[in-house]
């Protein structure tokens, strides 16, 4: 098995695959990619299995040293990338030789980029997934000195790769939303929420907080299912958008729902940026 040495781990870099599906009834979050569109594209370009494990690199990417030939591809946020000091391009296969050093730098625009490798990264599987999620897996993020295994492939030069037009879904600010199960609770105040600028607050892989002026009385409802994209409203008016590592059940009213595209867009936004919720036409 070929090995990658993590020379520098970047800001927060994690192995992520399509997720831990089928364990939500044990309280285990799905932990798939935040930006599902960019994740799938990275694997598609290399002709990988759609859900093969990638590195999800946030804000500042890692520096990696490879000990055998392969091919990699970077998608998602606009992140600096160089191979042995020479600048490379996103959304294109990058051929790697033994001893090469790949350096991902700062995010120029967006938040999360996805580094796919031919045949996927081979980190250990726990409950059917390689995705990092502490305490299901031992770590949340890569650290300096970690190693990552992969299957070397020296035929990469002769293979066909998919060419795509660089997408810009993640630069958009207008997110489609649908009504959530407890929608009726805020129906009267809706003009404060739809088509209005909303400022993104603190966020991580569990969720995004967005401040609003909406008010409602605490309901004391029973806990019920939460999925990625669920927008819950706390009594203080804070909107909690459930993301890839979200809780599987929750007790706050679920007033809106973002779809996969909306979540991919939101995942590329930073604290302080503005977004808009727009109705998704049925």
């Amino acid at each position: 098995m070929a090995t990658i040495k993590v020379i520098d781990s970047g800001f927060s870099t994690a192995v992520i695959d399509w997720g831990r599906r089928g364990f939500q009834s044990s309280g285990v979050p799905v932990s798939g990619p935040m930006d599902q569109i960019s994740f799938k594209l990275a694997n598609s370009i290399l002709n990988n299995f759609e859900g093969a494990a990638c590195l999800e690199c946030t804000l500042l990417g890692p520096t990696l040293q490879f000990d055998a030939p392969t091919v990699v591809c970077l998608t998602g946020a606009d992140m600096e990338i160089s191979l042995n000091g020479e600048a490379e391009q996103s959304y294109k296969p990058i051929l790697i030789q033994a001893g090469d050093e790949l350096k991902l730098g700062k995010c120029i625009d967006g938040v999360r980029s996805y580094l796919a490798i031919k045949h996927g990264f081979h980190s250990p599987e726990v409950l059917g997934s390689k995705s990092f999620f502490y305490p299901v897996t031992e770590q949340s993020f890569l650290t300096q000195g970690n190693t990552l295994e992969y299957s070397a492939d020296d035929r990469t030069k002769h293979q066909m790769y998919v060419r795509i037009k660089t997408p810009d879904h993640w630069k958009k600010e207008h997110l489609w939303v649908r009504k959530g199960p407890e929608w009726a609770l805020v129906e009267d105040q809706i003009d404060q929420l739809i088509d209005k600028p909303l400022i993104i607050g603190p966020n991580n892989r569990m969720g995004y907080r967005i401040e609003s002026q909406l008010e409602h009385e605490p309901t004391g409802m029973y806990s019920s299912a939460v999925i990625m994209g669920t927008v819950q409203l706390t009594p203080s008016g804070q909107l909690l958008v459930a993301a890839a590592d979200c809780q599987v059940t929750g007790g706050y009213p679920r007033v809106l729902l973002l779809d996969q595209i909306g979540m991919s867009m939101l995942s590329q936004k930073r604290t302080g940026q503005t977004i808009y919720f727009n109705w998704k036409k049925a």
Binding site: R21, G22, F23, Q24, S25, S26, G27, V28, P29, V126, L127, P135, V136, T137, P181, G220, Y222, S223, S224, A225, I227, G229, S236, Q247, V248, T249, G250, G251, L257, D259, Q260
Partner: protein
């Protein structure tokens, strides 16, 4: 059991949410567990997961489901009552819990420092059996039903920053055990050394949905000893087969 009155709605592209009136007594909850087993079997090729709570079921599908079709299938099951199979191999777990006053600041606050009320409350908690209704929130967080109405305690106005691993807590009429340190809005009444979730095992959960849980008070000294055993990977507690089915 009268027929469960369900409402159905799509929840995102891949899930269907089924709501019903809150199920509070043990018999109805047991029937709900059987329904869940039945549906998992009925949709075994289509379902990715089925998350249910005391008043809802969320069916997660692998491909976008047709709401009307799924609704009709479930209604058919409910009409025929064919889900009323027996729950087999249920266990009764006696969980050691330390009720030392150093571990239940929330409950002391709830009773405005009246220690007598605190210890009374804890004693009554230990007299009941609880049904493990479902897992949710975080890996291995169990929701227990069977808390008498007058023992219900409302959630905190704003959640505490950290609730310790092993905390036994009350949230409304639900009892739960925090499997890891986490922010939490429930009132902590004691702490267990037992680990409810271990991802290194093939079966990360030892207690299954439908199992019966009761609590055995232990001293702080005993709690610390048990904690050492747990850290060595042991499960220092009693279990037995549960016979008294609803």
């Amino acid at each position: 059991m009268s027929k469960l009155k369900c409402t159905y709605q799509s929840f995102g592209d891949l899930a269907i949410l089924v709501d019903f009136p809150p199920v509070e007594d043990q018999t109805s909850l047991a029937n709900l567990l059987k329904l869940q087993t039945h549906l998992r079997n009925l949709f075994k090729h289509e379902l990715e997961d089925l998350v249910f709570t005391f008043n809802s079921m969320c069916l997660h599908f692998k491909k976008p489901p047709k709401l009307a079709f799924i609704k009709e299938k479930i209604e058919h099951v409910l009409r025929n009552g064919s889900h009323k199979a027996e729950l087999l191999f249920r266990k009764h777990w006696e969980i050691p819990v330390c009720f030392d006053l150093s571990l239940c600041a929330d409950l002391i606050e709830h009773f405005d420092g009246d220690i007598e009320q605190v210890t009374d409350y804890q004693q009554i908690i230990c007299l009941q059996d609880y049904l493990l209704g479902f897992y949710g929130f975080m890996p291995g967080f169990c929701y227990l039903s069977g808390l008498p109405k007058d023992l219900a305690i409302k959630r905190k106005a704003s959640p505490s920053r950290t609730t310790a691993r092993g905390s036994l807590a009350v949230g409304g009429r639900q009892l739960g055990i925090y499997p890891q340190d986490s922010p939490g809005g429930w009132c902590v009444i004691g702490r267990t050394p037992i680990r409810f979730f271990d991802a290194t095992k093939d079966q990360p959960l030892f207690a299954q949905i439908g199992d019966i849980i009761s609590f055995k008070p232990v001293t702080l000294e005993h709690f610390n000893k048990l904690q050492e055993l747990v850290d060595l990977g042991m499960l220092p507690m009693k279990n037995s087969i549960y016979h008294g089915d609803n």
